[in-house]
């Protein structure tokens, strides 16, 4: 009965062919050979890019700070292995545009010499603020994909006195199993990370939501949390996008985050399981975030599995390690197939946000030609945010972006459910992303035109001043001339 009531809390969503079987049962592969060169972008998080503290030619240890964070929302970047800084220059980012981003090129020496940071034997004697500081200096960011600096979130939780910490073990994206494997293999460490977070946020209770398609992870986590009654492991139904934080918040707490508000408005905050693990590593052993578990999968990959790779490894090398066939690859995707980004080429680095690397075959991608909308309303029934994707796309197609915002464009989370079910192959999410970018550009343009009119005003004032000055000078000169003439005549 309770389950039935709870299932009413799920709105929209789709059942996707999971494609998780291939990797969920295989242990995380730790044998990935250290690459000769690592490419570490200086911005792998939401916020300001990090500023390098090393110079070209410097020798660095594994875990040494390469670039420190700047401003309130930012995160530092550390050396994933020991070696020499070969260059600090622009390198293509793991982004659909593959435009360059400032990157540290690190030539590894193969020794992996560690320089340990400060470590606390008992984190629970530390001040909560100290936990945040250490998490910040370890460069931990949200590993579910959002890459929001975790320390900022810990502070938010503490300042807003949240009552429950929610941990997202949903991993609802098809193909991806990195969180699943991490929970199966490192449940105790994750639970420890959760306890550290609770201490850091001064919060009493945590709930972990795990989809019911991960029975092994559920079992492992239940066992690990057995002696911690304040950490509740909750089985949640498998339904994409269950891992959307607000969907999970509604399911677990029965409350909705108000539109335009924050999770803290309903007294909760959400972190990912992998983030909990990274925090455990950072606090217990002083290890910064320099590697991560990446799911390598897709039809073109011969040996799909989860691999632990250093940040900065080229995606192409990871794909080769797992036997990906380039000729059969129809599309490279970083992240999951529903929300991940397509990459124009694979020679871009693994970053903190890289939960998965997919080499999908043409038949997996199968994108048919766009056909007219038949108003079947499937997009509306699957939208977890309660929007009208078809109407929004129509308005955007006719360049009526403001009208699209009026019916909720800004509440769209780009989960892709609408595009997935559309029988007419309408690229709905693409329309929404285009519109979001266009609106941002307009915002910038508006800002620029305000600046411009300010500049023009200033210029006009200056011109006036110069004119006036000139006139005054002229008058003075004339007066002086008259004076001298007068003097001449008096003599």
């Amino acid at each position: 009965m309770i389950a039935l009531l709870q299932s009413l809390r799920i709105r929209g969503g789709i059942h996707v062919n999971e494609h998780k079987q291939a990797t969920a049962g295989l242990p995380i592969d730790d044998s990935f050979p250290l690459p000769k060169r690592l490419y570490i972008p200086l911005q792998q998080h939401v916020g300001k890019p990090a500023e390098p503290v090393v110079r070209v030619g410097d020798t660095v240890f594994k875990g040494q700070l390469l670039a420190h964070s700047q401003g309130l929302i930012s995160a530092p970047v550390h050396a994933p292995s020991s070696g020499t800084v070969a260059d600090i220059a622009e390198y293509p980012a793991p982004h659909p545009s593959a435009l360059p981003i400032r990157t540290v090129f690190l030539d590894t020496d193969g020794t992996d010499t560690v320089q340990s940071g400060e470590s606390a034997t008992d984190p629970f004697t530390l001040e909560p603020e100290e936990i945040s500081l250490r998490v910040a200096s370890a460069g931990v960011v949200g590993l579910g994909g959002a890459t929001f600096p975790s320390a900022v979130k810990l502070n938010l939780g503490r300042q807003n006195k949240i009552h429950t910490l929610l941990i997202n073990g949903g991993e609802c994206e098809p193909y991806l199993t990195c969180d699943d494997r991490l929970m199966q293999e490192n449940a105790a460490e994750i639970v420890d990370g959760i306890r550290i977070m609770l201490h850091g946020m001064e919060t009493g209770r945590a709930m972990v939501g795990i989809e019911d398609n991960k029975p092994e992870a559920l079992k492992a986590m239940r066992t690990a949390a057995n002696f911690h009654p304040n950490i509740e492991i909750c089985k949640i139904p498998t339904r994409y996008p269950m891992g959307w934080d607000r969907q999970l918040i509604r399911y677990l707490t029965g409350r909705e985050v108000p539109a335009g508000g924050r999770a803290t408005d309903v007294g909760v905050l959400m972190h990912n399981v992998a983030t909990a693990y990274a925090i455990h590593q950072a606090i217990r052993y002083g290890r910064p975030l320099i590697d991560r578990v990446v799911t390598v999968a897709g039809g073109a990959v011969a040996n799909p599995k989860n691999v632990r790779v250093p940040i900065g490894t080229l995606i192409s090398e990871v794909l080769v390690f797992c036997g990906a066939d380039k000729t059969r690859t129809g599309r490279w995707v970083m992240g999951g197939p529903m929300m991940g980004e397509a990459l124009p080429f694979a020679d871009v680095p693994v970053v903190k946000a890289t939960s998965g690397v997919l080499a999908l075959t043409g038949s997996e991608v199968k994108q048919g030609e766009e056909q007219p909308c038949i108003r079947c309303a499937r997009c509306i029934s699957v939208c977890p945010a309660g929007l009208l994707p078809v109407d929004m796309a129509n308005r955007i197609r006719n360049n009526r972006l403001e009208a699209a915002v009026d019916i909720g464009l800004k509440d769209c989370i780009s989960c892709g459910s609408c595009s997935y079910v559309c029988p007419s192959n309408i690229p709905l999410v693409h329309y929404f992303k285009f519109a979001a970018g266009e609106l941002a550009a307009r915002q910038q343009a508006k800002h620029k035109s305000e600046q411009t009119s300010k500049l023009i005003d200033e210029r006009n004032k200056r011109m006036e001043r110069i004119e006036k000055q000139k006139a005054e000078e002229l008058a003075q000169a004339r007066a002086a001339k008259e004076q001298s003439e007068k003097a001449d005549t008096t003599i």
Binding site: R246, M339, K366, Q367, I374, R375, G386
Partner: protein, 332 residues
């Protein structure tokens, strides 16, 4: 804008793979038993009418696309459905030349002038049928008894009427249960109605097969179950109330449910996605509106049957429903 980015498309990178053609094909599958039973009941005449309507619709769609230099849309299967549905709504001995005109106009005026599939405000088959009803009021109300002994061997003279000539009605004609009720106050057994052992339009007689087709589509999630449920429910409730008030003059709710074109209309025509609202609440309102209109027209209107007009009016109402009813956005 930038050619390099054009090759990269946005997420999601996978899709369900159920295209428009797949949905339409399944609707055809669901209609086939209905059509087969119709041919079994009414014989070779019904087969000819259905085939003529089918050919007229598909041919019109093809030629119109060709003449306006647009890619062919026959493959999406929507013209086949229109043809089948139109054929199923006609009387079994309807002249073929009229059927052909109905098919042509259904596609041309019901769909193409609006801009093709997805833009047709009204169900094309019903548009075609409405035009036929206005143009040939006698022929379209000339019924024919089902299960005649010679139904597989004899082609009716009416069916083969020379184009633009007045059809000859051959001796036998049968009243539909609804017209019998309306004009002669004779009711028909509900069981006969449900199984289709009565006279009527080609495809509207077997309520059981229509309902099975609907259940198939609902199970495959290719039809919004709320629409037929709302229509049938509201018809049942309203006629039930009337029957309870005075069973002498009002028909029983079961009779209302299983007679005439209600089943076919509720399951296969009102559910046309293009003409129905897009929200869950919207389709329920739409369904109830249609259901109430059906009862009103049947009981107080001049015609024995009102499903066609009720659905067309419902189609006209649905954009307004969509404007008023919006889903609740998360967090508001």
């Amino acid at each position: 804008m930038f050619s390099k980015t054009l090759r990269i498309s946005s997420s999601p990178h996978i899709n369900k793979g159920v295209g428009v053609d797949v949905i339409m094909r399944n609707v055809v599958y669901a209609l086939l038993p209905v059509a087969a039973f119709a041919v079994y009941a009414f014989g070779i005449n019904a087969l000819l009418v259905i085939l003529t309507s089918l050919i007229a619709c598909v041919l019109t769609e093809h030629l119109l696309n060709k003449f306006s230099n647009r890619p062919s849309t026959i493959a999406d299967g929507s013209a086949v459905i229109t043809g089948l549905l139109l054929g199923l709504t006609l009387p079994p001995i309807f002249p073929l030349w009229m059927t052909f005109i109905g098919g042509v106009l259904a596609i041309a005026l019901g769909k193409f002038v609006f801009g093709g599939l997805g833009y047709n405000a009204f169900n094309p088959a019903l548009v075609g049928r409405a035009i036929l009803q206005a143009a040939f009021p006698v022929a379209i109300t000339t019924w024919h008894p089902a299960f005649l002994a010679d139904r597989f061997t004899r082609v009716s003279e009416s069916v083969l009427t020379f184009p633009f000539a007045k059809p000859v009605v051959d001796g036998i004609s049968g009243a539909t249960p609804l017209s019998a009720f309306k004009f002669d106050q004779v009711t028909t057994e509900s069981a006969d109605l449900a199984l289709g052992l009565v006279s009527g339009s080609i495809g509207e007689t077997s309520s059981v097969l229509i309902a099975l087709g609907g259940l198939y589509l609902i199970a495959r999630k290719m039809m919004n179950w709320r629409i037929p449920v709302a229509i049938l429910g509201s018809v049942y409730v309203l006629s039930g109330i009337l029957y309870w008030i005075n069973p002498e003059i009002y028909p029983s709710p079961e009779f209302m449910l299983f007679s005439g074109g209600l089943m076919l209309g509720a399951v296969f025509m009102a559910t046309d996605m293009v003409g129905s609202p897009i929200t869950s609440l919207g389709v329920v309102i739409y369904g109830i509106f249609i259901g109430l209109l059906v009862v009103v027209i049947r009981i107080w209107g001049g015609l024995p049957e009102g499903v066609m007009y009720a659905i067309l009016l419902g189609n006209a109402l649905s954009p307004h429903i969509d404007r008023l009813i919006r889903p609740r956005v998360y967090g508001t």
